[in-house]
């Protein structure tokens, strides 16, 4: 890439480059790679904390993995549920975020303040968001009050007692929390679209609708994919909000993958089994991101040069 233009008294440039990378590499090695290796080894054993040291554990080959995929319906359900919640959330967040972003292309007063106000939800920590919505969804809470006002029935629903309502509560919370991220990224993308193709289309007689669907949206595609990838990576790990809202209940009906692994490891102490589940999830996530990124991989790598 760069010519080694060595100035007087300087380190050879590649040595300095390597030296600068070293602290980051050491931290990543110690705090990310080592635990991953330990977890990977553990996932092939039957180790639990009462078995003494991890090295004394019996190797059981792929038993944990087989158990998870073939017999553990709770795991499979958690995976399906997480994918379902993720799909619904991302679709809603995208549509709402894009609509808001398009509205922000118009001229109106107080735009700067409104922009800050719309970003506020994503700045709040997930635990607090979860707790706040837990309060909002109480049977005597404000959401039920409004519902009763509109529909005039005697009592509002018990949000955390029924499966569809509890899942809806999780989805509403998640959409409220993260629509601003889509809004932010898509608005950045819209503002970066060059004026000329748009102007040319208008001169040639295109309607605003045609301009949007045929010119703006295709040019926005890379940004849209970036937004989806970033959000997909985070939402498959969904934990904090659900932990505060439902703890996976009623029963296991809102249990996400992360919540299930957490319960396996820290409530049932099935650490080896939990590690195997985690590796399956990692593989699945990597495959998913790979698929999502495929259309823009070259563009993305170019942009990073």
């Amino acid at each position: 890439m760069q010519e080694a233009t060595s100035a007087r008294g300087s380190l050879p440039s590649n040595r300095l480059g390597q030296l600068l990378m070293l602290p980051g590499q050491i931290v990543s090695l110690l705090v990310l790679v080592v635990p991953l290796v330990v977890a990977f080894y553990m996932s092939f054993t039957d180790w639990t904390p009462t078995h003494g040291s991890l090295l004394q554990a019996t190797l059981v080959g792929f038993d944990n993995y087989k158990e998870l995929l073939v017999y553990d319906t709770r795991f499979v359900e958690a995976v399906v549920r997480t994918l379902l919640i993720s799909t619904v959330c991302l679709a809603l967040e995208f549509v709402l975020g894009l609509s808001l972003a398009v509205l922000f292309l118009r001229e109106f007063r107080g735009k700067a303040i409104l922009f800050s106000a719309f970003l506020t939800p994503m700045m709040i920590l997930p635990v607090v968001v979860g707790y706040t919505f837990w309060m909002l969804f109480q049977s005597n809470g404000p959401i039920n009050q409004l519902l009763m006002l509109v529909f005039g029935s005697g009592a509002g629903p018990q949000w955390f007692r029924s499966t569809p309502l509890a899942i809806s509560a999780v989805i509403i919370t998640e959409v409220w929390h993260w629509t601003p991220l889509f809004f932010l990224i898509l608005l950045s993308g819209l503002n970066a679209i060059p004026e000329n193709p748009v102007r040319a289309a208008v001169i040639l007689g295109a309607t605003p609708r045609q301009v949007f669907w045929r010119i703006v949206l295709p040019m926005l595609k890379p940004v849209i994919i970036v937004a989806f990838v970033i959000r997909a990576m985070e939402i498959v790990k969904l934990f904090d909000e659900v932990f505060m809202l439902t703890r996976g209940g009623p029963g296991t009906s809102t249990e996400t993958i992360s919540l299930y692994i957490y319960k396996l490891a820290f409530a049932d102490f099935q650490l080896a089994y939990g590690a195997a589940a985690a590796f399956l999830v990692l593989l699945g996530t990597l495959a998913l991101i790979h698929l999502l990124l495929a259309p823009i991989r070259n563009q993305l790598l170019e942009a990073r040069r």
């Binding site: 480059g17 600068l20 980051g24 808001l100 920590l125 635990v127 707790y131 409220w176």
Partner: protein, 286 residues
């Protein structure tokens, strides 16, 4: 693209969206200033007629907390505020310093190759619940469990992808020629980076620092599984109150939640023009 006026129906839609965006924040702030009798009134009270700061006082008064039947490790919130500050600030400073070195290394010396962005991103894909399992085992063997050192190490590693890529995008924006002019002047490369590169990206450095602080301050799961009695952070304390009282400590919990989100809203507003860059690892710049 821009320039068209907002019509009345659209303004109405925008107004509705604004109400929805801010209502939960309004609710938690209102709950935080409700006296105990208003906490769980039925029908719910929207704006308390006698606003009070008593919930905030209760948070920092062990006797008052115990009067609500909360004891053991889940007592006053003083330790958790201290713990959140310590872990987030130390984790942020280290993450930004290490990330800055790596950012300059990648941007100026082309280390890492083409695949590095994707490898680093994949580090963020692993569910934290899974990494937490080996951590608990390793940490209990090396005596790092329930220590701030242990938590800070995780915060540094967990945010390093963000700090590295956000700072790299700021260094990339800086023309190489500026540094090279100084190098020809006889100063060494390292000196050129310290006296030229870093001062020129100070705005980006500040934005990155605040962004990493937001991430660390919000972290929940690692703090939850790696802390017992010594180490507490605000999110863990909030979860403990909820567990200890089945969530019925409404006003006190809301007060803690307000304390937790105030610094983040402030930091977020300060860096809002850089948020897109931070969240997308530098892929979206403005």
């Amino acid at each position: 693209m821009t320039g068209r006026k907002l019509t009345w129906p659209l303004a109405f839609v925008l107004f509705g969206a604004l109400i929805i965006s801010l209502f939960p924040v309004f609710w938690i702030v209102m709950t935080a200033i409700k006296p105990p009798t208003d906490w769980n009134a039925s029908p719910a009270i929207w704006v308390p007629s006698h606003p009070t700061m008593v919930n905030f006082k209760t948070l920092f008064d062990p006797d008052a907390i115990r009067a609500y039947g909360v004891g053991g490790v889940s007592q006053a919130a003083t330790n958790s505020v201290f713990g959140s500050l310590l872990a987030s600030v130390a984790g942020t400073v280290l993450s930004v310093v290490i990330g800055l070195c790596a950012a300059i290394g990648i941007s100026r010396y082309a280390n890492g190759g083409k695949a590095t962005p994707l490898i680093i991103l994949s580090g963020r894909m692993f569910p934290p619940a899974a990494i937490a399992v080996p951590f608990v085992i390793i940490y209990s063997n090396v005596g790092l469990i329930d220590t701030y050192r242990g938590l800070i190490a995780i915060y540094v590693a967990g945010t390093l992808p963000f700090s590295t890529w956000m700072l790299k995008s700021f260094v990339d924006d800086l023309p190489r020629e500026i540094e090279e002019a100084v190098m020809i002047d006889g100063r060494s490369r390292l000196m050129a980076h310290i006296f030229v590169t870093i001062p020129l990206i100070r705005g980006g450095l500040l934005a990155t620092t605040l962004f990493i602080f937001i991430l660390n301050w919000s972290e929940f799961m690692f703090a939850l599984v790696l802390s017992y009695s010594n180490v507490t952070t605000i999110p863990v304390q909030l979860a403990r109150y909820v567990t200890a009282t089945a969530g019925t400590l409404y006003g006190v919990q809301a007060a803690l939640a307000v304390l937790a989100m105030l610094p983040l809203i402030l930091a977020g507003l300060l860096i809002q023009s850089h948020l897109a860059r931070g969240m997308t690892f530098g892929a979206v710049k403005r």
